[in-house]
């Protein structure tokens, strides 16, 4: 019994000892856990190191690729620079420097010297005509010209020469509205700017404003049809213009009165006009350039709207190599009030002009010279009194010295031989600049 008790006690003690476990801090081998932790740490660092190594390899590969590309690009750039900028690139850069070109100022100006024997004038004068162009888009343009000039007396004078909107409706048709140069013949619309006109002065029937010409230079209204249509052969065309406007207005009811502005129509009637022209010779034919056409302009001129102004004209030109011949004929008839001395103020005028350029003469300076001669005259039929126009006739000769295609020094000598006034001599010189 006692032995059983001792055995049982021993069992209890052994079990108790087996159940008892010391806390970790009181482990028998503390270095083992530290070693294990360190081993884990080493493994983690190894994997991190491996990942970094792979990343580094990738970076090196990319760097190598970039260096290769950079070298190739550098070679391309060096080759491009050595070639110089392409015209397209240069155009793009210059275009951005100068702006988009939608607003352009062009025009002309001149300094002039005039000598008139009978009038006993001997004077310098100057004029400046800037032309403003604004391209709203590819089918609408607004254009305007200011005329800044020095009148014989008083301060500087400024006129609105023209201001109109051009709407291109299709390839062959345009609408123009505003104040425009009269589409009649060639001279008024196309030849009167001094850098284009080969003479200093205008032909007699096409003198402007108060100078006594046969037509007003401008009208206000709409050119509801205008354009050019190509015919067979390069350079051939048919051109046309049809328009309505306020019409002519005169300074007085007198015979021989000058035109005056008609900014607000002086009657309820509108004037109408039309012009057409042909250029029938193809450039390939080598026969030169031939052009001819006709114009008309008709409207009531008095405030009552009873009296007609009627006009028609023809014009033509021929150019071959350095030679040019052109001319224009104009006929006008103005009804006069019933209490006038005569019923109609009937005037005609024409000019013919020849020019020859010495540009083919291979002599320095001389190849810049152009020779020019003109005969112009104006008639007034049914004249019953000496106060009427003196039937002016004029022979003009001169030369142009072209400094550039749009800058010319011009010299002109005029011999005036009117039918009912003393003969006269005039000299005009001008430095004209088109810009």
């Amino acid at each position: 019994m006692r032995a059983n008790g001792v055995r049982a006690m021993c069992c209890v003690i052994v079990s108790a000892l087996m159940l008892f476990r010391p806390p970790p801090g009181l482990s028998a081998d503390p270095d083992a856990s530290e070693v294990r932790r360190l081993k884990e740490e080493i493994e983690r660092l190894k994997s991190e190191n491996e990942a970094n190594r792979k990343k580094m390899e990738d970076f090196e590969k990319k760097l190598e690729q970039l260096e290769t590309k950079s070298e190739e690009k550098q070679k391309e750039l060096v080759a491009e620079i050595s070639k110089g900028p392409s015209p397209e690139a240069l155009r793009r850069v210059l275009g951005s420097y100068w702006g988009d070109g939608r607003f352009v100022i062009t025009g002309y100006g001149f300094g002039q010297y005039d000598w008139d024997q009978n009038a006993n004038t001997n004077t310098f004068t100057a004029q400046f005509n800037p032309v403003f162009l604004f391209r709203l888009n590819d089918w609408i343009l607004f254009e305007s010209e200011l005329e800044v000039k020095l009148p014989s007396e008083g301060e500087t004078e400024t006129n609105l020469e023209f201001a109109n909107a051009d709407v291109f409706l299709n390839k062959y048709m345009e609408l123009v509205a505003g104040k425009f140069l009269l589409p009649f013949g060639d001279f008024i619309e196309r030849l009167h700017p001094p850098w284009i006109n080969k003479f200093v002065t205008n032909p007699l029937p096409l003198r402007e404003g108060d100078d006594g010409g046969l037509l007003p230079f401008t009208d206000i209204g709409a050119q509801f049809l205008r354009g050019g249509i190509p015919l067979t052969g390069r350079g051939t065309s048919f051109e046309y213009t049809a328009w309505i406007g306020n019409g002519p207005s005169y300074e007085s009811d007198d015979v021989g009165a000058n035109f005056t502005s008609n900014n607000i129509d002086d009657n309820r009637n509108k004037a109408f006009g039309a012009r057409f022209a042909f250029y029938p010779l193809p450039l390939d034919a080598g026969l030169g350039r031939l052009g001819f056409g006709a114009s008309t302009f008709d409207g009531k001129w008095d405030s009552g709207g009873d009296l007609w102004f009627r006009s028609w004209g023809i014009h033509g030109l021929y150019q071959l190599d350095q030679a040019e011949l052109r001319g224009e004929y104009i006929d006008t008839q103005r009804d006069l009030p019933s209490d006038s001395e005569i019923s109609h103020d009937n005037r005609q005028g024409w000019y013919v002009q020849g020019a020859y350029s010495l540009s083919e003469v291979r002599v320095p300076y001389l190849d810049r010279v152009g020779l020019v001669a003109r005969y112009s005259r104006q008639d007034q039929r049914a004249v019953t009194s000496d106060e009427f126009l003196p039937h002016p006739r004029q022979v003009s000769v001169g030369f142009d010295y072209w400094l550039t295609p749009s800058v010319a020094f011009k010299f002109e000598y005029d011999r005036d031989i009117p039918e009912s006034a003393p003969n006269n001599n005039e000299i005009h010189t001008q430095l004209a600049v088109g810009f």
């Binding site: 409706l169 049809l225 213009t241």
Partner: protein
């Protein structure tokens, strides 16, 4: 003029404007192949057409963008057909 006349003018205008598409001179850059052909045409037209009234002015006087605007003005003043104006414009812009 009467209302009927004005109406007739307006209708004529509308009908004629529908005949062709709206066409500006510098509206679109022509395709490369076409541009060469236009350049050659322009080189031939430039002295003749411009020289009808005045000395032909060199393309270098103005920037290409300015020529777009100036040629619209010239097309109007000289009643140039659109094709001729386009050819001269290409020539001027390339010089």
């Amino acid at each position: 003029m009467t209302t009927k006349t004005w109406t007739a003018i307006a209708l004529t205008l509308l009908a004629l404007s529908l005949i062709g598409s709206v066409a500006g001179v510098g509206a679109e850059e022509p395709p490369k192949g076409e541009e060469k052909a236009l350049f050659r045409q322009g080189a031939q037209l430039w002295p003749q057409i411009c020289g009808t009234c005045h000395n032909a002015r060199p393309g270098g006087e103005r920037s290409p963008a300015e020529w777009d605007t100036i040629m619209m003005h010239m097309r109007s003043v000289a009643n140039l057909p659109a094709e001729d104006a386009q050819a001269i414009l290409v020539f001027l812009k390339a010089r």
